[in-house]
Amino acid sequence: MARLLILGAGVAGHTAASFAQRWLGKKHEVVVVSPNSMYNWIPSNIWVGVGRMKPEKVVVELAPIYRKAGIDFRQARCLSIHPEGGESGGQPYVTVECTDPARRGEREEIAYDYLVNATGPKLNFGATEGLGPEGNSLSVCTYGHAEAAARAFEESIQRMERGEHQEIVIGTGHGMCTCQGAAFEYLFNVEQELRRRGVRDKATLHWLSNEYEAGDFGMGGMHLKRGGYVTHSKVFTESLLAERGVNWHLRAHTTAVEPHKVHYETLDGENHELPFDFTMLIPPFAGVGLQAYDRKGAEITERLFNPGGFMWVDGDYQAKPFEQWEASDWPRTYQNPHYPNIFAAGIAFAPPHPVSKPMKSVNGTPIFPTPPRTGMPSAMIGKAVVASIRDMLNRGATEPTHTASMAEMGAACVASAGTGLFNGTAASMTVYPIVPDFKKYPEYGRDLNLTFGELGLAGHWIKYILHVMFLYKARQRFGWSMIPE
């Protein structure tokens, strides 16, 4: 009997654990380590952040699900990986620190035969002075952050109801952020909520982003066939900003957030300020900072992780200029090159390079979106990794048997532009592939028959259906495995 240890119970880790138990559970042991007792369906945090959904509606308690499924759940934070075991050899193991209230702070070692690192991002608020809920800006990246944002938003609305004017800044809190889509959704949900409450005329809204052009979203944007033209997403994005009366500030690296002022530098080297009364800025992501040690106890973190804390897998990490990037640079199996029993899934893996073109300001500050890190690929990678491990354990495969390259898969994404059963809207988008492949699709890097986008009420319904469906799946209710990632 082998032990598969999964670090993290988010989109990638929970998907991996669910399939692992289904495929391996009878013969092998599945252990999940995660510091939070809850699974959070993060996309719906946007609605929590405008007060239109209660935080309880976007979370599911993990322990009962795992107990029922026969998965060993340890509520703990992994600190280090020891892929060669201890001094006397033996099994590889990880060290963890308990976070469950009964055993908080206790440390233990957990041995493994196969390890999946699905620890997601560290929300790196520290990268920008004053950024984040402990500083001077809000966030919707966790349900707790979103709840706090909703409270601040309500206060801001009440001020408007008393006749005060409010400046609202929403966007990215650093020059190297990803997840622009989440901030973009929040912007339009805020805007719609202001209209619903009858105070839209009391607010000036600003979109602040590190994108070179609006609609980049860390994917270099996308081209769509629409109205007899092939059009870049910049056009649709600016159209929505103009329609909703939002000012936009692009190519921006947020340098500091003071209590009522955001400072940012733009690619042309200029420094700017934006005063605000309410601001939600997405932080840049880093890896969660796991350490690694060899059997003698010497640190080998750089063998497992890149300097940003993301795990090396089977990507082509050779530094090369944008013009030489290829789809084949992107990892396919997510196996660590040094330790074949270690895999990474979701945000935890190290991408070979961004998708958007790297840019530097005249002062040398990098200002460009880092690679997109969305839910569908995270879940698909989690599933593919576990399928490979299943074949290695049960069928004696010596190499991973399943692949999930972001340059070979598409993504379906629904970006909310406002909630409401009859007046909500969302942009429904598909891209194929996520990472453009200019060898296969020389013109735009993507298949234009599978890449499309449209704004409307149907998108809102889909977003809500996804919310219900993915929480149903997370609870492992009847037929969950039939729901695609």
């Binding site: 159209s239 900003l241 379906a412 009859f422 429904s428 599978l450 409307g456």
Partner: protein, 50 residues
């Protein structure tokens, strides 16, 4: 909200006409779009799971 003035940022992008805005929330049309969008998404999901 007031319309953007000439040469302001919001003056240049295309904005939807009232007809476009109407169809975005027209129930019958959107039920149809729901089906079409779902079909598109299923095609992408199928292509990704190949």
């Amino acid at each position: 909200m007031t319309n953007p003035k000439p040469y302001e940022q919001g003056y240049f992008p295309p904005v939807p006409t009232s007809a476009t805005r109407f169809w975005r929330t027209n129930l019958l049309w959107q039920v149809w779009r729901l089906l079409r969008i779902n079909m598109k998404m299923v095609r992408v999901i199928r292509a990704s799971h190949r």
